[in-house]
Assembly symmetry: C2
Homo-oligomer: 207 residues x 2
């Protein structure tokens, strides 16, 4: 497609680099911005640059943060002896939204995936092991996705922390049928596991 | 949803102002940018600001342009006596892509639509009528979409230019069954019109 303005062309090119946005959507977005007040575009541009230059990683849990320590790690009323291991900061947001968890997190930044060239050294595993070695941690919760890569990562970390600390409690989040789901539509593996790992009926009354 | 960084929150807020992008997509885009090299974000931000501050409207046809006159209006090898009236600059691009049209354009910037509060004065109709009044235009092609608003706008402009110029030829783009389409799936109005406005068979051999 030919454009009558090289600035429009450049803007479309840059917008189309974003995931899930093609040239046509980029054109639509660029034309939309052209019709809006200039402040919207400058605000957007400033917010993007600020995002990239001012957002840091929490030095303790690798969650994103504006300060050295994120709000969760800095909060002394949370239980710092329980660490929930997640893949991504979106998982932190998802768990925080449930308002059920009062421990702290550790964001790995991905899963071990040899196919994508991601090994243990690319992930924030060393700092996790160091944190556990201090002896202040009593429980580690694995909350990675239940894919082959997730299981591999879980197992790798499990081996690492088992070697360093024997009295540590480890757990994974419960897998089972979603609340509100019909059994007949559930996949066999999930349904099978939900029967094997059944819980006392009294427990289901708690929440 | 709570965010651990106010810069992330601000970026998401600004991105989500774009049409068709919700908070979740905005979050995905923001996290994507965080993982990319900084140059991508600064390039994107610069391209957006350049788009807004440097792109002008062609003073003759209202197409977007980097200069006073757009490339099409400035091109003397094009036929300046034929004007194709379109709604939007995307329509200019679509027609230019066919490489079948050698006249110039006039971009209205919308359609008359009282429901959306768009009257003739909000559109670039006056400059079109002025251009036609110079007497240098021999044909006007209406290429608006065939909706009620498009038809209304066509008719309004038709009345305006009829009053000012009697020898002017007017035409609309041909409506009919798309090339490659099956007749049985075509809508009745299009199919009916394509029979009423049938063309000599020899014409269909030309292209």
């Amino acid at each position: 497609m030919e454009f009558s303005s090289k600035f429009l062309e450049k803007a479309i090119e840059e917008i189309a680099l974003l995931p899930g946005i093609g040239k046509r959507t980029a054109l639509r977005l660029a034309l939309h911005l052209l019709k809006q007040p200039q402040s919207q575009t400058t605000d957007l541009a400033k917010a993007l640059v600020d995002l990239k230059t001012k957002v840091k990683q929490c030095k303790s849990c690798h969650n994103i943060s504006d300060k050295e320590l994120c709000g969760i790690c800095a909060n002394q009323s949370r239980d710092h002896s329980i660490i929930c291991i997640v893949e991504d900061i979106r998982d932190v947001m998802a768990i925080e939204n449930t308002e059920q968890y009062k421990g702290i997190y550790h964001v790995l930044g991905g899963k071990i995936s040899p196919m994508d060239g991601v090994g243990p050294n690319q992930l924030n595993i060393e700092s996790l092991v160091d944190k556990i070695k201090t002896g202040k941690v009593t429980e580690v919760i694995f909350a990675l996705s239940s894919t082959m890569e997730g299981d591999t990562t879980n197992f790798y970390i499990y081996k690492q922390i088992q070697a360093s600390e024997n009295t540590l409690k480890t757990s994974t989040i419960a897998r089972g049928i979603s609340i509100g789901d019909e059994l007949e539509y559930a996949d066999e593996i999930t349904l099978g596991r939900s029967i094997l790992q059944r819980v006392p009926f009294e427990n289901s009354l708690k929440n």
